[in-house]
């Protein structure tokens, strides 16, 4: 539709001035809405409108002026001479200088500043400022370790991946680098091992606790496992059926060789130790069947040597003591010690001429099997034994009793070891799942640190060579890796001297006690030979305790009787004099006092 409006104007009227007049509005065009056009459109619902409420910002660029720098040197040249003076001319310069010097102003100034200068110069000479003061005073850095509370924290926990959980009976750290931990799993409960229990033992990488780095698949579960300290690829394990097997980690999970059943132990092999030899391939093993066998790894068909732990030295297997732990110190290659099931520690000499001489001596004092036996790495003459409810420290020279011992705990102690870096620190684990760290220089009655690692019993513990990390294995196969605070693994000042003093002191005490006991026994023997008559009256202090107690009892009862009769007599008298009630009270009081008095009198006479 075209909307056209035509406006006409005469040609002659062009250029004429405008005359404005008022007139009402005229409707020229009226375009009405056409509903049919609405069909071309739809209602938009909802309407999306975008809005932004933000500050208006504009962008500017600025570039700083470049600062150009250059390295320059200065060439010092004499200058300042007045224009007419030639600096090369010696005479002229001298003359000029002289002139300046004669100037009054110069002289005054010089006097002034010379005074200052002299003062400072003399000061310098008075004290040597470059002297080293405080040289002799030792720098006392705040020893934070000693102030820090001993603590241990769990770094990692390795759980047995199998469904049926087995006990982690033995741990061994990798000899170089300590990044790996070999754990032997088996079930030590007699005939309680379920049929589908896996026999595998694992090597864990301490960084990865999800999956073991390597699996070792023996024919029978391993009770103990040890890395070869010289060759870190070789491990040897003692199994539950008495066989010895060795693995090479480069060659896979199956044992490279196993010992023949006829020549192996008849009971589980509880401990296997690598020997210090030229070939680095010798081991010896101990088991509860009473034998200690020596093997060469390369030829496991037969042991190289055999020792039967018969205390009567007759090599009678029936009499033999079952061995549970072994101890071997590389600095003393001919001697070794065996801890037995019966609670005796047997010290043996490997290089004895006759088989009977192999067993040198025994140490008794424990009530149960000796689960751990280790010499102190700093003082090899003293060794630690862990058995029944106590841990004891022994000295090689004293055979009758240990020189130091812990109190009797509520739970059995199942394993223990010395710290390789501190001579006074050792660790023990208990049946209730606690780990105790003992520092004998700090506290002897209680552990310095007692930590509950898990709810089940802890069967094994091993400290890494740097003394900082330790692994402990539990009944359900959970191996926990702990880090102990630096205070417990750094050598303190004078520690060695103090510990050696302590050991010497205790050894001396035991020696004195031993000699006194011997004396007493001799006396007893001699006395009982002389006369069998009335020795009881002899208040020698040598009477046995039972006799003493019996005597005390009879005396006491006599005195009581005497007092009672006396009281009764007095009561009768008083009854006659005064009222009964008052007297009764008085009597009771008097009686009790009297009884107490007689009791104390009886004690003193003892």
């Amino acid at each position: 539709m075209e909307i056209v409006y035509v406006y006409t104007k005469k040609r002659s009227e062009f250029g004429r001035q405008c005359n404005f007049s008022d007139r009402p509005a005229e409707l020229h065009v009226d375009i009405l809405p056409d509903p049919s056009l609405a069909a071309n459109f739809t209602v938009r619902d909802p309407c999306n409108v975008t809005m932004q409420c933000a500050e208006e910002m504009s962008e500017h660029e600025v570039n700083t002026e470049r600062f150009e720098s250059e390295s320059r040197g200065i060439n010092h040249v004499e200058g300042g001479w007045p224009k007419d003076l030639n600096p090369e001319d010696m005479e002229a310069t001298i003359r000029y200088r002289k002139k300046v010097e004669k100037d009054e102003h110069y002289q005054n100034t010089i006097m002034q500043i010379a005074g200052l200068m002299e003062h400072c110069s003399k000061q310098n000479n008075a004290t040597d400022i470059y002297q080293d003061f405080f040289d002799d005073e030792v720098e006392e850095e705040v020893v934070e370790e000693s102030e820090e509370e001993p603590s241990a924290k769990t770094i990692n926990v390795f759980r047995d991946p199998n469904e049926v959980k087995r006990t982690a009976t033995s741990l061994s750290w990798h000899p170089d680098g300590n990044h790996k931990l070999a754990v032997a799993y088996s079930s030590l409960e007699f005939q309680k091992a379920p049929n589908d229990m896996s026999f595998d033992s694992y090597i864990w990488d301490i960084e990865n606790h999800n999956k073991p780095e390597m699996t070792l698949k023996p024919v029978c579960p391993l009770v103990c496992l040890e890395y070869n300290p010289k060759d870190s690829h070789i491990l040897v394990g003692g199994s539950y059926n008495g066989q010895i097997a060795y693995w090479d980690t480069r060659k896979g999970s199956q044992p490279v060789e196993m010992s023949t059943i006829e020549h192996s132990h008849r009971d589980p092999v509880y401990k296997v130790i690598w020997l210090q030899s030229k070939t680095g391939m010798d081991i010896f093993s101990a088991s509860t069947d009473g034998q200690v066998l020596w093997w060469d790894i390369r030829k496991l068909s037969e042991p190289t040597e055999r020792l039967v732990l018969d205390p009567s030295k007759k090599w009678n297997l029936d009499n033999a003591l079952g061995a549970i732990s072994l101890e071997f110190e590389t600095t003393m290659p001919t001697k070794f010690m065996v801890g037995t099931e019966q609670g005796l520690v047997v010290s043996c000499n490997r290089k004895a001429k006759t088989p009977a001489e192999k067993i040198v001596c025994t140490y008794s004092g424990h009530h149960g099997p000796i689960y751990a036996l280790q010499r102190n790495p700093f003082f090899p003459k003293n060794f630690l034994t862990v058995a029944d409810w106590t841990a004891r420290i022994w000295s090689e020279d004293i055979k009758e009793s240990s020189i130091m011992w812990t109190k009797y705990h509520m739970a059995h102690l199942l394993d223990g070891c010395w710290s390789p870096v501190r001579p006074s620190v050792f660790f023990t684990v208990k049946m209730d799942g606690t780990l105790d760290v003992w520092d004998i220089l700090f506290k002897q009655n209680d552990p310095t640190l007692s930590l509950k690692v898990c709810d089940e019993a802890l069967y094994s513990i091993r400290v890494q060579d740097n003394g900082r990390y330790l692994g402990c294995g539990s009944q359900l196969g959970t191996t926990t890796l702990l880090e102990i605070s630096s205070g417990l693994c750094t050598l303190q000042k004078n520690e060695k001297a103090l510990v050696s003093e302590m050991f010497e002191r205790e050894t001396k005490r035991e020696k004195i006690l031993e000699s006194r006991h011997r004396e007493m026994r001799l006396k007893e023997r001699s006395r009982s030979e002389q006369s069998r008559e009335d020795e009881a009256k002899d208040a020698d202090g040598e009477e046995s305790t039972e006799e003493l107690v019996a005597r005390a009892e009879t005396e006491f009862f006599h005195m009581l009787e005497a007092e009672k009769t006396k009281e009764r007599n007095e009561e009768k008298e008083r009854d006659m004099e005064k009222g009964v009630c008052e007297e009764k009270d008085f009597q009771e009081e008097h009686e009790t006092n009297g009884v107490v008095a007689s009791f104390t009198r009886g004690e003193i006479s003892l």
Partner: protein, 96 residues
């Protein structure tokens, strides 16, 4: 005149004094006990340093002024006594 001589001689004679220099404002060494090149070097560098030190002091507090400048180094101590017109430099090493 004689006093000045005496004073300077005395300063030079102290324990550990290696050398002394007296310079005027234009940089001409009036009196020196060291050789020329060393003197010129010391003068040039220390003059600038003294100026800088003085301006620092006066920047912080305009009423203040530099009276003495001592630079201790591993080997010896350089002492500078400034004045409006002259500068006295003494190098002393510590008594062992």
């Amino acid at each position: 005149m004689a006093e000045v001589e005496d004073t300077l001689k005395r300063i030079q004679g102290y324990n550990g004094v290696i050398g002394s220099i007296v310079v005027n404002a234009e940089g001409i060494p009036i009196r020196t006990t060291l050789d020329n090149s060393t003197t010129v070097q010391y003068v040039g560098l220390l003059h600038q340093l003294t100026m800088k030190a003085r301006s620092t002091i006066r920047d912080i507090d305009p009423q203040n002024d530099l009276t003495f400048l001592r630079i201790r180094s591993k080997k010896h101590e350089i002492m500078v006594a400034p004045d409006k017109e002259f500068l006295m430099i003494v190098i002393q090493s510590p008594t062992e």
